[in-house]
């Protein structure tokens, strides 16, 4: 599936989302629900703020020593019988996974939720080889059936209502399903169970790699992750290269933060920890275990002013509180990652050209930073991206700001300009106001007949 980034502008996508009342309602409900759950979940923990600081420290430490930590993870995965592949970009990663699937003689691949796999367009790559890729996370399966992309990092079908889901399912169920969630879930379970049994390869994401033992951990609420990682003969885990911790002790802190920040849960229903393939004497597990470590532009962020974005643990909390996400939804951002984290990551991950306007998808309100479990200053990073963009800004924009600076750095010129703005505001007809402003708002007008504030002050009136 093509990225929305290609061929559409941010404003076009925003306009479409805002005009869609059905979507607006779904977004509002979902954002409120997840934000409230998070507030309840995090406030239940007395030392949540300390945990955030610990989380921030851990992420900072790991990212600062990323190559050593990844080296250790690799050694330990291999020592436990797994294979590790470093993919420098999405194409390399997709090719490797495809090769593993072909070698396994797979006709069907079951997947649990993985944003990294979305990032590398794995499903398209597999389909090109006539291998069926089946999403088994309920939300992911829904949007796969609807030929859409995820609109939220942890809740990919958040933009759809139960009725939408029923309509989508009825296309493959001969139209006899209601919109009752339990009925829809039962249908999904029945359909997907068959796929699990048929599959030779399971593809999962990774929430955290734990370097000291070469373990990967996956948090899920549906149990599909457990089936994907244990039932098929081959398990391939795809991990963004930053999604790692050094020790189990660090993992403990991250595991306390992630579900609370994401859904307000103390812990997810399932926490799977996989160390290598099945060993002799073990009852279940795959014969082969592969870990694909995905760079795809991440290492270029290391050592830059944007390094902190690699601290992200993909909880989605910044999306849920973002007033812009609330209006334009995940698809408004045009790529896999949405919300404030998406607006920062997308242009950095080799997409600067196409995503060059995403840094404007923010009012810099800072709600994201306040919500982030590891305190990433997302609004500062967005501002940094704006500065980068301004360096290459066109002549008119640059000239405008230079002119503004030349005037407003001189007190006399400043006074002249605000005085004429005041005069203009009293008399200028609405249609001459900046187009962007008058589109939805009346223009501010200084009260008629009143002097400017400075002249009032200087006149000595009380």
């Amino acid at each position: 599936m093509k990225d929305l980034l290609e061929g559409t502008t941010l404003r076009q996508r925003a306009r479409a989302a805002i005009a869609d009342e059905h979507l607006s309602e779904a977004l509002e409900q979902a954002s409120d629900r997840l934000t409230n759950l998070k507030l309840i979940g995090s406030s239940a923990l007395e030392n949540y703020e300390e945990l955030r600081d610990a989380g921030r420290y851990i992420r900072g430490r790991v990212i600062a020593n990323l190559s050593q930590v990844l080296g250790k993870l690799t050694d330990n995965v291999e020592a436990s019988g797994g294979k590790v592949f470093f993919a420098s970009d999405g194409a390399e990663a997709a090719e490797y996974v495809s090769r593993v699937a072909v070698n396994a003689g797979a006709r069907t691949v079951v997947k649990s939720k993985s944003m990294a796999s979305e990032e590398i367009h794995l499903n398209d790559a597999l389909e090109n080889l006539d291998i069926e890729a089946v999403e088994t996370d309920l939300g992911e399966w829904i949007i796969q059936l609807a030929h859409q992309t995820p609109s939220h990092i942890i809740a990919p079908a958040i933009h759809l209502t139960a009725q939408d889901v029923s309509d989508i399912f009825n296309k493959i169920s001969e139209g006899d399903l209601s919109d009752v969630p339990s009925e829809l879930c039962a249908f999904a379970r029945e359909q997907l169970r068959q796929k699990f049994l048929e599959s030779d390869v399971g593809v999962s994401g990774v929430n955290f790699g734990i370097a000291e033992t070469g373990t990967i951990a996956i948090v899920t609420n549906e149990g599909n992750g457990r089936l994907v990682t244990s039932l098929p003969r081959v398990h391939v885990a795809i991990m963004g290269m930053e999604r790692v911790v050094e020790t189990w002790e660090q993992f403990d802190v991250m595991l306390a933060l992630l579900p609370r920040a994401a859904t307000g849960q103390q812990i997810t229903t399932y926490v799977n920890m996989v160390t290598g393939p099945r060993r002799p004497g073990e009852a279940d597990g795959p014969d082969e275990f592969h870990l694909v470590i995905l760079d795809n532009g991440r290492s270029d962020i290391l050592g830059t002013e944007f390094q902190e974005i690699l601290h992200c643990i993909r909880c989605g909390a910044c999306l849920n509180v973002c007033p812009v996400f609330r209006q334009i939804g995940g698809h408004g951002y045009g790529w896999v990652y949405s919300g404030p984290v998406g607006a920062v990551l997308t242009p950095l991950l080799n997409r600067a050209e196409e995503a060059g306007e995403l840094q404007d998808a923010s009012s810099l309100c800072g709600a994201c930073w306040e919500a982030c479990p590891v305190k990433i200053p997302l609004q500062d990073l967005l501002l940094g991206l704006r500065r980068k963009k301004a360096e290459d800004a066109g002549g008119i924009q640059k000239a405008m700001w230079r002119g503004w600076a030349a005037a407003w750095s001189r007190p006399r010129a400043y006074k002249e300009s605000v005085r004429s703005a005041a005069t203009m505001s009293k008399i200028v007809p609405e249609q001459f106001a900046p187009k962007g402003w008058r589109a939805g708002r009346k223009i501010p007008r200084a009260p008629k007949g009143t002097p400017s504030f400075r002249s009032w002050f200087e006149s000595g009136e009380k």
Partner: protein, 242 residues
Amino acid sequence: MLRVGLLPTCVVDSVAPQVGVAVVRVLRKMGHEVTIPKTATCCGQPAWNSGFAEESASVAKTTLEALENHKSDVIVVPAGSCATMIKVFWQELFEVVGDHDASHRAQRLAPRVREFSEFVASRGVMPGKYPHRVAYHHSCHMLRELGIKEQPEKILGGLDGCTRAEWLADERCCGFGGMFSIKQPEMSVAMADDKIESLKETQSEALIGCDQSCLMHLEGRLRRRGESIQVKHLAEVLEEAL
């Protein structure tokens, strides 16, 4: 009694003189002497938020010099986001453009600069009367960067007859965001509408805030929608109440 230096802000200077007048009257009523640092212009925020740091710094430096040379005990700024720019972002701004000296000076100046409601609240409760049901908008930078939340609420709560309505969206961004409001008008207006829908549920007579720029945006949207709810800066409320 303190000698208060007032930075009016560009919004007051250009389109909201009534807010500046109210601020001066309230501060005088509190017994302070008010002067204006004559050569101060703007805090530089519009360019900073647009990514134009050099341009922002040249404007900010003019105002930095004016404020640090001004003979006053405290500088009051009747706008949360301008106060944040000065107190929090100036240091970073000057570092970004390599002006370490100005950054240090900004750091020294910061404690002397106070957002209006914070300053008013710090001087104790004032008797006043404002028999209206109001909704208070917490503006983003003031709330999250400066951590000023209770002060304006306390001031409103101290006025006779004033009821502050519970407002679910009181901490959600109004969608102004400086140039954002013009570059992304659809998002900006949709965010205002979201805020306004929630405001209407409070059945308030007036919307109160401490950032005239947010209020200008919300008022512009309210009027375009044909809504009649009043929009006032906290200083205007106090001017009427005291």
